[in-house]
């Protein structure tokens, strides 16, 4: 029983990070109707960058976080300017392949810069120990990353609900033309959403890298996060979080009870079933098409 509860808590804390990355994914989809297949590579590059600053350069944690978030934010802002702005109004396959092109490029860049650093880890900022919460032993690292991810998501939700920039971005997501006629700069809103998504995925990469080490496998998280976003419905932040938790728990449970090989495909099996039975996810908008 205690084993099951531990598994569930592990699943939830991993799932919250998946959810966090899925939120970045939803953000881009909402503002520009682009599926960002490069999300996983952003997670990976973010984690490697963070490692470079914290370990190779040796900056303190707070400065490292500010610097890396600034760099990836600028990079995300720049990405909108070059390959993505010409993609407005292009067919879906073009937008898919352009993000995949970015993904392959980022992977190549990561190979060039970090391939020689095998088996690297973040320095431990806190000593890991078990805390009893209502009689359940929980690792403080896990709890910490759980709350960090949760705070980020809540902050993002508040940002979208109340801040002026957030409202602009939501308006741009609703309808580009209408937003433009209300005096909102749609391109800037999209650029901002890419910047925020890059920062959010870097945060996710940092947390995941802290928990399981930094390697090129981190890029697979992008596809898992995509499954999470799909389960929740592509238009909803709370759906993305919930989807992340569902996927995380399902993954840990199958990993323990059925087999390690199946653990890697469980997100995709869930994804196929969601696609067949409820393509618009739990909280997504159902679109009605007319000719």
């Amino acid at each position: 029983m205690i084993n099951l509860i531990q598994l569930l808590t592990t699943g939830v804390s991993v799932g919250v990070i998946y959810g966090l990355i899925a939120v970045g994914f939803v953000l881009i989809y909402k503002s520009s109707q682009i599926f960002n297949f490069a999300q996983g590579e952003m997670v990976m590059v973010g984690a490697f960058l963070m490692w470079t600053f914290l370990v190779a350069v040796g900056t303190p944690l707070w400065l490292g976080i500010i610097l890396v978030f600034g760099i990836v934010g600028l990079a995300g802002y720049g990405l909108e300017r070059f390959p993505l702005r010409p993609m407005i109004g292009q067919p879906i396959l073009a937008t898919i392949m352009i993000t995949m092109g970015i993904a392959v490029f980022l992977r190549g860049l990561a190979i060039l810069l970090w391939a020689s650093n095998i088996d690297i880890k973040f320095p431990s900022f806190v000593t890991e120990r078990m805390i009893n919460v209502f009689g359940i032993p929980l690792s403080n690292v896990m709890l910490g990353s759980f709350f960090f991810a949760l705070i980020l998501v809540v902050a993002l939700s508040l940002f979208f609900a109340y801040s002026r920039t957030g409202l602009h971005m939501r308006a741009a997501a609703e309808n580009h033309q209408l937003a433009q006629s209300m005096g909102i700069r749609v391109t800037r809103a999209i650029a901002q959403s890419w910047a925020i998504a890059a920062i959010v995925s870097t945060a996710g990469g940092f947390l995941l890298g802290y928990m399981r080490g930094i390697d090129f496998g981190l890029s697979e998280i992008g596809l898992i996060a995509m499954a999470a976003a799909l389960v929740g419905g592509l238009e909803s932040f709370k759906g993305a979080m919930l989807g992340g938790v569902i996927i995380g728990v399902a993954e840990t449970l199958t990993g323990c009870y059925i087999g390690h090989g199946l653990k890697e495909v469980v997100p995709f099996v869930i994804m196929v079933f969601v696609l067949i039975y409820k393509p618009y996810g739990l909280f997504g908008l159902e679109r009605i098409e007319r000719v």
């Binding site: 993609m87 352009i98 995949m100 392959v104 391939a115 596809l223 495909v265 995709f268 000719v291």
Partner: protein, 351 residues
């Protein structure tokens, strides 16, 4: 379709001809003859290069039918290739079937598996379908890797028995070269013919607007599933040829990255054109070879970069190529080729 000056079409049949003038026939004949003569001049390296490229071209023709003509985005083509490769290898290895029987069986198997995943296309499209095919990619590779390792060889490798047709054993690079080239010509001919028939027109109608196509009385389910079947059949044939050629297959030959590469090749070559797969596969493969050669060269000049440069260059150049093509020439090299031909015909009044 513009003709050379002095050639006029007087019937619909003439208008639809693939080889309208005798220069077309001479040109294609020369090209095929050149490919058949190549083993006399070229070394094994270039024969191997062309063989692997030609296998990719076959898979790309299938992907082109599925994604380029019918508009059903599939990012799992190499998984269907894996189905073909493994079923061909298992049929030959465990049941001792001859190669000429394995190959169509591999195509059929891959086509049926493709149809199974294509079922999702009845409810979803666009991004969602792309995600479903990515899921197919992972699920198929998992099925190969984990549940039946004694049959599929698991995650490590599966040895493929020698290919024999009527007592003749395919051994050398040249033998495989002829085998693969023959199939490439056959499959390309089949693809071209199919896309000129009413199937091709139906596919294009579905690509352009599937609801409108349905309203005009097309059976969407039938045509979408057919597109998946044909596209994956091609993948299966390509996989079977690849298994025969490579002798050893492993799940690592058929990853999601490979599928993305194939889609990228198709984009570079040009979607919705029979020539596109040739241009795309050749362009990207040549670019790869260039990077593999250039990497060590640059490292020898600036040793600080490290030995991973060529691996990194391969990926980065591919990413940049896709992005540049999508932004500046979304219709691919095939479109440029058409423009070139046009301006050649209209010379000196080309614009």
């Amino acid at each position: 379709m513009r003709r050379v000056s002095g050639v006029f079409d007087t019937s619909y049949f003439q208008d639809m001809m693939v080889f309208r003038t005798k220069y077309h026939l001479v040109g294609i004949g020369t090209l095929i003859a050149a490919f058949l003569m190549l083993p006399i001049f070229a070394g094994d390296f270039w024969l191997a290069f062309i063989s692997t490229t030609a296998v990719t071209v076959i898979a790309l023709q299938g992907l082109n039918i599925l994604s380029g003509y019918c508009g059903q985005i599939s990012i799992g083509q190499t998984a269907f290739m894996a189905v073909g490769a493994y079923s061909s290898a298992i049929l030959a290895g465990r049941f001792g079937l001859p190669f000429w029987l394995c190959l169509p069986c591999a195509g059929l198997g891959a086509g049926l598996v493709g149809m199974l995943f294509g079922l999702t296309s009845l409810r979803i499209k666009g991004y969602y379908l792309a995600l479903a095919t990515i899921a197919a990619q992972f699920i198929i590779i998992y099925m190969i890797k984990t549940p039946f390792p004694e049959i599929t060889g698991g995650a490590i490798a599966l040895h493929v028995p020698d290919v024999t047709v009527g007592g003749f054993i395919f051994e050398t690079e040249t033998h495989f070269y002829y085998l693969i080239i023959a199939f490439t010509i056959l499959m390309t001919f089949f693809a071209k013919s199919l896309m000129r028939s009413h199937f091709g027109r139906a596919f294009i109608a579905i690509r352009d607007n599937d609801i409108a196509a349905e309203a005009m009385g097309m059976n969407l389910y039938r045509y979408k599933l057919l597109a998946f079947f044909i596209g994956c059949f091609y993948a299966g044939v390509a996989g079977s040829l690849w298994a025969a050629y490579a002798r050893v297959i492993s799940p690592d030959d058929f990853t999601l990255m490979n599928s993305i590469w194939q889609m990228g090749m198709l984009i570079v070559g040009g979607l919705g054109s029979t020539l596109g797969p040739f241009f795309g596969a050749l362009f990207i493969k040549l670019l790869n070879e260039l990077c593999v050669v250039a990497g060590p060269f640059i490292t020898s000049i600036i040793p600080q970069i490290g030995a991973q440069l060529s691996a990194s260059l391969v990926e980065m150049s591919f990413g940049i190529t896709i992005v540049l093509f999508l932004v500046y020439e979304p219709r691919g090299i095939a479109h440029r080729w058409e423009i070139l031909k046009e301006s050649y015909r209209m010379w000196p009044f080309s614009y």
